[in-house]
Amino acid sequence: MAARLLYCAAAVSALAVLAILAFLVYFSLPLFQGDQLAALFSWHWRPLQNEFGILPMIAASLALAVSSMLVAYPLALGVCCFAHGLGPDWAARPLLVAVRLMSSVPTVVYGLVAAFSLVPLIRGASSGSGLCWLAALLTLAVLALPTIVLLLDNQFQRLESEIRLTAAALGLTRVQEMLQLTLPLSSRGLVMAAILGFGRALGDTLVPLMLAGNAPQPPLSLLDPMRTLTAHIALVVATDSQSAAYNSLFACGLILFLLTVLVNLGLRRIRTGATAHG
């Protein structure tokens, strides 16, 4: 009896994801009639001229996620190495506490602070309005940093307990142990953390919505405004429910969902590879 109830709970939880997919597909069905689909894959979003291209948003989402990872990932790796051997031992614990605190800061708070500190700074230093790719990129990097650090920390902790003795036997210093054993041995974990961080950056809505300026154009310069898929959904959810603009909402949702699936498949592949080998 208890087992059956628990099974139902788990089934409901697992089915939730399918329900989300089903709704997205159901509401994107109108897209597959006529030439609507082709209209989506254009570089121009001008609803008043009946152009509903979402390519700029797709490009912006990918560009923002990749670029913010390029900033956040090396830093996160640095923080983690610091806490596992490259820094003094006494500093490791307080540093990780600080990282946890960072992870508890609400997204909207990061957005607010950046909008009134980082954005005026960029505006002063450039000819643009300050609401741009760069502002969103840096803020998103700060937002994603703790997630990646905590993941990597988890990996390193597990690995260290395994290799501590070997390292000691080889007479390696803590720094050498980190650089020559832990890092190379945790390559899979490193890739997984990168992919998860990418997924996190891709899915964030508030940061691009508040900081990236939301102009629907391809991301060509760090100082230009851009509009991501997530911000596009938040902005367009508003318009008329029979129009093509509204359809594009669910198309964006579907694309985001598929990207999430890809991220997860990638993770799964790496993980099952890991268990098969070791």
Binding site: A3, A10, L24, F27, G87, G203, G253, N264, R268
Partner: protein, 288 residues
């Protein structure tokens, strides 16, 4: 060569490590400087007498009390829905599921964990459109819908923390149970669940923190800028994170902007406290 590389790595690690406290200090310092002066009674209750608002439910305008209540109700509803479901699913995955069921279920739940929150909001929005077109023409975006969508958002956290807490219990506990002649369910009820309670609770608290801070989901499912204290489950409501987002873009005066910063401080304190509570529980667990 190797030595130089080592030195460079150490230098870079120091640099990144110093960045973390620096960023934290910058964010909190900035918020304190801009928000602290307006952290007064008027921030909460506007021009309504606080006691009248607290005791008699007098409507509050230009204060964040309705948003505080909105967030509180939201979080309570999410906990009510998500905790039983999440913990039960976690137990199932840890103790009952095996083989393909376990693989399939855990894949779905991992996927759910990866879904951007705006999609949960879009799902809720689509759900309402669907309900209105089919069998509930009166359905509308509201507090309950937001809570439902937030439940989907935090469910994976709850499931995986419960599962982890149970799976990491020492085997000796199971043996004890078996030697006492307990059934599987009795073993879970009497031994495994109590032993893993701190881990589960800390998962619950983190999930609550996530529900309290999310803006993208509620943005699409019923939060509004002005609604007063939430009247019913099917009413529109205000919430702290949305209030910050709204004021950041729409402030009409420097005072309103200062209110946004003060509200951010309140929300930050809330999520910070939740985190500390969760950490304490975990620490208690580790000492045991």
């Amino acid at each position: 060569m190797a030595d130089r590389q080592e030195k460079l790595s150490v230098a870079f690690a120091w640099l990144s490590a110093l960045l973390v406290p620096a960023l934290l200090a910058m964010v909190t310092g900035f918020l304190l400087r801009r928000g602290l002066p307006s952290l007064q009674v008027a921030l909460w209750f506007g021009d309504t007498p606080p006691l009248a608002a607290l005791l008699h439910g007098a409507p509050v305008f230009d204060g964040i009390w309705p948003a505080c209540l909105g967030t509180l109700y939201l979080v309570a509803l999410v906990a009510l829905m998500a905790v039983p479901l999440g913990v039960a699913s976690g137990i199932f995955l840890a103790e009952y599921a095996g083989g393909r069921t376990k693989l399939a279920f855990s894949f779905c739940i991992e996927l759910l964990a990866g879904i951007p929150s705006i999609l949960m909001g879009l799902f809720g929005f689509a759900l309402i459109l669907f309900l209105r077109r089919s069998f509930a023409p009166e359905a509308n975006t509201c507090l309950l819908l937001s809570a439902f969508c937030l439940t989907l958002l935090v469910l994976p956290y709850l499931i995986s923390s419960t599962r982890l807490a149970i799976e990491s219990l020492p085997d000796a506990l199971r043996l004890t149970g078996a030697s006492l002649g307990l059934s599987h369910w009795q073993l879970i009820r009497r031994i495994l669940l109590p032993a893993s309670a701190p881990g589960i609770f800390s998962g619950v608290i983190l999930a609550i923190g996530r529900a309290a801070e999310d803006t993208a989901v509620i943005l699409m499912t019923g939060v509004v800028a002005n609604a007063g204290t939430p009247g019913s489950l099917t009413a529109k409501y205000e919430a702290l994170p949305f209030h910050i987002y709204y004021l950041a873009a729409e402030y009409q005066s420097p005072a309103e902007l200062a209110q946004a910063f003060a509200t951010a401080l309140v929300l930050l304190a809330l999520t910070g406290l939740l985190l500390l509570a969760a950490r304490r529980l975990q620490a208690g667990l580790e000492i045991k």
